[in-house]
Symmetry: C2
Subunit: 443 residues, 2 copies
């Protein structure tokens, strides 16, 4: 019996080839990858290898007996090449393979051709076979973009002094209330899945002043639309010691600008593969809720003036209008009617029927709701009472107000919706790795 | 009606004072903060202001009528000072306040003194009043350390080519099985809260080769101990094209080394406040499960040789032994009996009763379980059959194997447990912002 010491092997580090493949011309390299595509040409074969740095073309002398889907360790030399295939990570090099070792074997072929430029399968098949369909380069690209968006938010928020929270997903009290909430049995007592970290991030303002969380939230909404998921990723930020709700909008604008810059830096390959171009922006135009109603009525003949919210059609049309007027993909809509906003929203002193809140529309769809919140104890108690709600039921929440909370506000953003609109996909479900809807719970 | 353009205000950016307070000596500054502590001395008052950059001492001429818990905007001059209070972010400067503006008012005092060096309240009070008790500097420090640990993992894993996943928390099939799973009604069908992202991260290996996720998992375990939470944060990584399970251990070792380096860099203030010193380490010693049994029997007289797992007492004792032998806070234990590991664990070819898996102990407690997984389709089908499990029930999982998976392995780490053992707290619950246990569901 001999105890042994494990040293830190270089195994975990990225192979030099992965870090800068183009710099490796003429070098002998070895690395591992999964065979994405094989093209047998008799005298030699092209083998496209999927690696941590993307898909690379390699060349094997003679017929290739390997199978797509298998993983191999290859040894070879990097040579220059002129390649056109869009999925290839490098169009200027390929690897001449001298030796290989099989790491895993192929058992059965994929039910659809993963090597076609586009998958072109029905969403039901796409989602039923998600562990396979996500292997297609275009599907993978969606989630590399989503990862970069999440990371971009985290970096921009941390840079601004926000502390990352990890708040509970099983809760006794929902933030939004209503029937759209999943219930579970928690050791004999009823509990719920959180619809929003709202209450917790307001607590967080009292603790860290600026906070954020990027985490799943759950909505038991029964509608099955292209803009809804029953489980989605919410990017939530809340900042204290603000002077107005406009400061929250300016904060979000600055964050989004950096998120887009990070995305372009991190995902240039994926953006090009999917044919996406993103507009530069320095600012985001803003209209009040009332202004939007006037414009959509006048310009588009949509007469929903008396509705206390914007319909999806109104959001779409006012976004088209903002694009034509200001060239902006984004539009803030402010001063939503108080009655349609949650009890914790701060109302305008000038006109209490209007809340100091906003939505952010992007390419026709609401991606964010935000605003200033009530921070004084007596004000929140009075608001609850005016709504016919019992402050005692919210004791756990307004306790934070009782012992002092700085003036604060924040926003929540749906990560899948932002991804969807950036890529231009028809359904938000395409932007969830394993989407959950009213009829889909697996895989 | 006039639409207006919002420009990006500097509001979101950190005030210059917050970026490098010590460099601001003699400068006129203004910033916002929350009053942490007031000491009236008649001719002048010390006001300790909690800000995004920590707590700073400021001085106001005369009696101070402000209240602890209120937020203010201050204007003043930065001057040098010699201060000793451990909670102060800077011991070399203070701010002479000339003017202030109240941003939020104090309504009622905290139920316990937040300005004492130690809170010293019972855990039940600590958790019941969590939105208040977390405002204590030592409680805050726990979660700044936890945030740095999470960020350290993310950086080390991204650097190694891992893609961040966001997998569903509502699932049809659990990864671990068993009774310890929360059930909910999902639009009329039974669903569960995920106990682990295991199946999804194995799918992820087939898609991105290396993946990770830092997200909540849920365990409906009825025991109420100092080492369990019913909702906790799991740091999960899974890497493909490995040659052995030792490669996974080496990978985790390298990651942990960087996590500790990042923690020291990011949280020097908090580590000092809590009196924590962390050992440097280059490698982690390793013992087999059988070796551990022999040692704890011989050295500590614990005779549980026939148990197929390690008891908490055995984990504690072998950790003490490893510390005395090698000076290491960490210890890998390998080759756990196959019968106690899940069906997807790969067994040793030499001795099929042993699995190619490991636990990582840190300061006496298991913080990680990991290992190599079965990647070949026929092998996983055979393992399921040997266990008397029906492969059809796992069709959604083993589909990934059927179409090819690289050899792979990974690990899962409990973020709260790591935080707990680093800080040396008696209960893991202290490391959950809003802990969930069998009797605690709120706040």
């Amino acid at each position: 019996m001999e105890a042994f010491m494990k040293s830190i092997l270089p195994a975990g580090e990225l192979n030099q080839f992965f870090i800068n493949p183009e710099s490796m011309v003429d070098a002998d390299v070895d690395f591992t990858g999964t065979i994405y595509k094989i093209k047998n040409l008799g005298q030699f074969s092209f083998v496209h290898l999927s690696t941590l740095a993307g898909i690379f073309q390699s060349v094997i002398t003679g017929e290739c007996s390997l199978k797509e889907g298998s993983s191999i360790h290859v040894w070879g030399k990097v040579v220059t090449a002129k390649l056109k295939d869009k999925v290839l990570a490098s169009k200027t090099i390929e690897i001449q393979i001298s030796k290989w070792k099989t790491l895993s074997t192929h058992y059965e072929s994929s039910p659809f051709d993963l090597t076609k430029p586009e998958l072109n399968i029905h969403n039901d098949v796409l989602f039923d076979q998600r562990m396979i369909s996500l292997r297609h380069p275009r599907e993978k690209a969606i989630f590399k973009i989503q990862e970069a968006l999440g990371e971009g938010f985290r970096r921009a928020l941390r840079k601004r002094g926000c502390t990352e929270l990890r708040t509970p997903k099983i809760v006794k009290e929902g933030a939004e209330g209503g029937a759209n909430i999943f219930e579970l049995n928690y050791f004999g007592q009823p509990a719920y899945l959180t619809q929003s970290p709202q209450f917790y991030k307001e607590f967080g303002v009292g603790i860290f002043e600026r906070v954020f969380e990027i985490a799943p939230v759950f909505r038991a909404e029964k509608h099955n639309t292209s803009r809804h998921l029953n489980e989605y990723i919410s990017v939530d930020a809340e900042i204290g010691n603000i002077s107005s709700f406009e400061e929250v909008m300016a904060f979000e604008t600055g964050v989004l600008k950096e998120v887009f810059e990070f995305l372009k830096l991190e995902c240039s390959f994926e953006l090009e593969l999917l044919g996406i171009s993103l507009k530069e922006f320095e600012s985001i135009p803003s209209l009040t809720f009332k202004e939007v109603k006037v414009i959509v009525s006048r310009e588009f003949g949509i007469h929903e003036e008396n509705e206390p919210d914007l319909s999806p059609q109104e959001e779409l049309k006012i976004s088209e209008w903002a694009l034509s007027q200001w060239g902006s993909d984004f539009l803030f809509v402010t001063h939503y009617p108080s009655e349609k906003r949650p009890f914790y929203a701060m109302d305008s002193e000038v006109n209490p029927e209007e809340s100091l809140s906003f939505d952010l529309l992007y390419r026709g769809v609401e991606i964010t709701t935000g605003g200033q919140r009530i921070h004084e104890y007596e004000a929140i108690v009075n608001k609850l009472k005016r709504r016919g709600m019992n402050p005692e039921h919210f004791e756990f929440f307004i306790k934070a107000h009782r012992y002092g909370l700085p003036p604060h506000g924040g926003f929540g953003l749906g990560l899948e919706r932002l991804t969807q609109k950036i890529i231009g996909l028809e359904s938000v479900k395409r932007c969830s790795l394993f989407p959950r809807d009213i009829s889909r719970l697996s895989p």
